[in-house]
Symmetry: C2
Subunit: 410 residues, 2 copies
């Protein structure tokens, strides 16, 4: 590139050259779909928002008023990158009780939503070309975060017990440069599946055998509405190889953007440096609200209330599916969380189904390929969300969508 | 790396391999210093916090109360990545009036503080090894953000009119892979210097000649307390080569983490994708607060009040320096912003001076090398902040520090 080539007489209207990291990245297909589903008349099963009735509005109102009455400067002034100390201490206590935090070797960082844990972990640990293994399908936001660091993203299929261990071992053998395995073990997004205890142990053993780290992303773990809690992989971690991500988005409010990461001290200190250059710190109000909320209310009773809301909504959607869908459509029965996963008969035109659903039947769902490592990966599934729609929308929407499944697959 | 090598019988205590991007990164020296300067008895001129009395506490209290009374769900629920629409529209209006926004070709994104603009711009535009040119010295947070993407960071010295154009051209010739030039033109951090109009034009012409983009970071522009406003480089941009960063941290509150970036639509759309994978969206409360604040009060009158506060503090510090410092210490006389820059005689032990100041004299300042591309770059300067300390602390601190300068340099 010489000066002469670059300096022409005419004005240089820019021809942008984006970095390799981002030139292949597209805006999240889900969020793109969401833009259209806000149109009037469309029933959306495509979102992932908490139910509005799950927000503890009255308590939040009181806390906001108290915060700005008692300590406004602390809300407004700079805080520290690691996070608001009282919240960090409280979460350390809570996570210790759950087996997810070891004070002697680990640290906890408050992040701007759990999404930031994935970004910071990947940025801290992975060079371009390093392999990161994820469930296939998995949460699109995390997959895009990983892709934005140019890792070699490898998807390993889920079966009904979790990520398939034989296929994981095959992937680990084929990719000796694997740095991280990304797992959502409870009520996975998008499938609603929960990984069994036996499988968790197998996956951890494989991480040990092939000396990789694990990111355990647990945004929905507190939202179990049937069955029994399963110990986290973090709680089994004897080697310091698990980075744990938690969030207030589903148990308090996503708009406050507060999550947290737990990892060995050495790893957290790199994540702190990365956070410092990314957004300096998480907003104070969200952190102080989360802390005061947990102080003020019986948080476990609050969670029990949320579980009641989501149990009722999940059952309502499952009933609608059982009543209206073609028997040729399979679906998961989640024990918690916000999503279930429907699978059309093999060879179906899934994409055509989803388009027809939103365009002609005004029911929005998310096509399953949005959650695959590559959108061209074959899947016959789509995701349904039951947390956001009203009861009436669930009833009406499952009936209409069921009619379409019968027309196309009976 | 074979399986045998990696799978030993003993438990694998992890030996962490961090990414090349972050393995060389250290926590910000400023923030490290700040940790110590919170010790009782230390007068800190090392911070960069707005004056607590600059926070419009009463109005913020009212707005918070109204927001949670009138529209709590919008505060708590997910928003869109680009930012809260009313705030975006308002800022577009305001920036259009300032010549910083062109509706036909540009977009505006709300970010989690202006720091995030630097990170998103660098991530979007730069491959590892691409050159990014910055002022030497410059804002450490931005420099670290750039370093975290493994760019080739090249510092070009400032003179009293701004970045030296001959040295910039030399750097551009030597680094034909230059992607971005990073500039803080108003009351620069750390020097307090303002780039002249003539120099702005020269710098823009060089960006045109060598076909690079510019990041114009303007966190302090609204805080001019003497002299005349100088047009932004953004306002001269005919080619779409300027990314502009603005912030509410210094004119409303840093704890809310709200900033904004303006750039050609194509560039913003990549930055939106990068933000989506980083923190999904900026917290709603901060965005809604910024919007309501600008609606509710006469924002320009509010800025005038802030200018009054900082003018008084700057003058107080300048008076203290004039009265107490050794005549062999040079210093800048900022026309706005939060900082000034002192330079010891050539060959002085600047680092020793700063250590002695904090350890023996209990006055914290930031050693100038914290702001250089490499901490080993030679500088005899240090940064003083006048926005955070009280009037009494300014008086006492300049007197004590002055004594030390006389002992060491008279």
């Amino acid at each position: 590139m010489t000066e002469n080539l670059k300096c022409k007489g005419e004005k240089n209207i820019m021809n942008y050259q984006f970095s390799e990291k981002v030139s292949h990245l597209q805006a999240s297909a889900i969020r793109e779909i969401l833009k259209f589903t806000s149109e009037p008349g469309v029933i959306s099963f495509a979102a992932g928002n908490p139910a509005p009735e799950a927000f503890p509005v009255e308590t939040v109102r009181e806390i906001a008023s108290e915060l700005f009455q008692n300590d406004p400067i602390s809300v407004l002034q700079y805080g520290i990158t690691e996070g608001y100390l009282p919240l960090r201490n409280l979460m350390k206590e809570r996570m210790t009780a759950q087996g997810n935090f070891k004070a002697e070797s680990e640290e906890l960082i408050i992040t701007s939503g759990a999404q930031q844990v994935m970004e910071l972990a990947c940025k801290s640990m992975c060079n371009p070309g390093d392999t990161l293994i994820c469930e296939a399908p998995s949460f699109i936001g995390s997959l895009n975060a990983f892709k934005s660091y140019n890792v070699n993203l490898v998807g390993v299929p889920l079966d009904d017990e979790g990520m398939n261990p034989e296929l994981l071992e095959k992937a680990l053998k084929e990719n000796p440069n694997t740095k991280l395995i990304y797992l959502i073990l409870n009520f996975q997004n998008p499938t609603g599946k929960t990984t069994t205890l036996k499988r968790r142990k197998e996956l951890y053993a494989l991480a040990q055998k092939y000396n990789t780290m694990i990111i355990e992303d647990n945004p929905y773990g507190d939202l179990r509405f049937s069955g029994e809690d399963v110990p986290s992989i973090k709680s089994m971690d004897t080697d310091g190889r698990v980075i744990y991500a938690g969030s207030f988005s589903k148990v308090l409010a996503p708009g406050i953007r507060v999550g947290y990461g737990i990892a060995p001290k050495e790893v957290i200190s790199k994540m702190v440096v990365c956070k410092q250059v990314s957004d300096v710190q998480t907003n104070n109000f969200g952190q102080m609200l989360a802390y005061q909320f947990m102080q003020k209310v019986d948080f476990d009773a609050h969670l029990a209330k949320l579980r009641g809301i989501y149990k009722q909504k999940a059952e309502r959607m499952l009933n609608g599916i059982a009543e209206h869908f073609s028997a040729n459509v399979a679906y998961t029965k989640p024990e918690g969380g916000l999503f279930l996963w429907c699978t059309l008969p093999e060879g179906s035109d899934m994409s055509g189904f989803c388009k027809k659903a939103v365009q002609e039947y005004k029911i929005a769902v998310v096509p399953g390929n949005a959650f695959m490592v590559s959108e061209s990966d074959v899947t016959y599934s789509f995701r349904l969300n039951y947390s956001t729609p009203t009861d009436e929308a669930i009833d009406k929407g499952t009936a209409i969508l069921g009619q379409l499944t019968k027309e196309m697959f009976d």
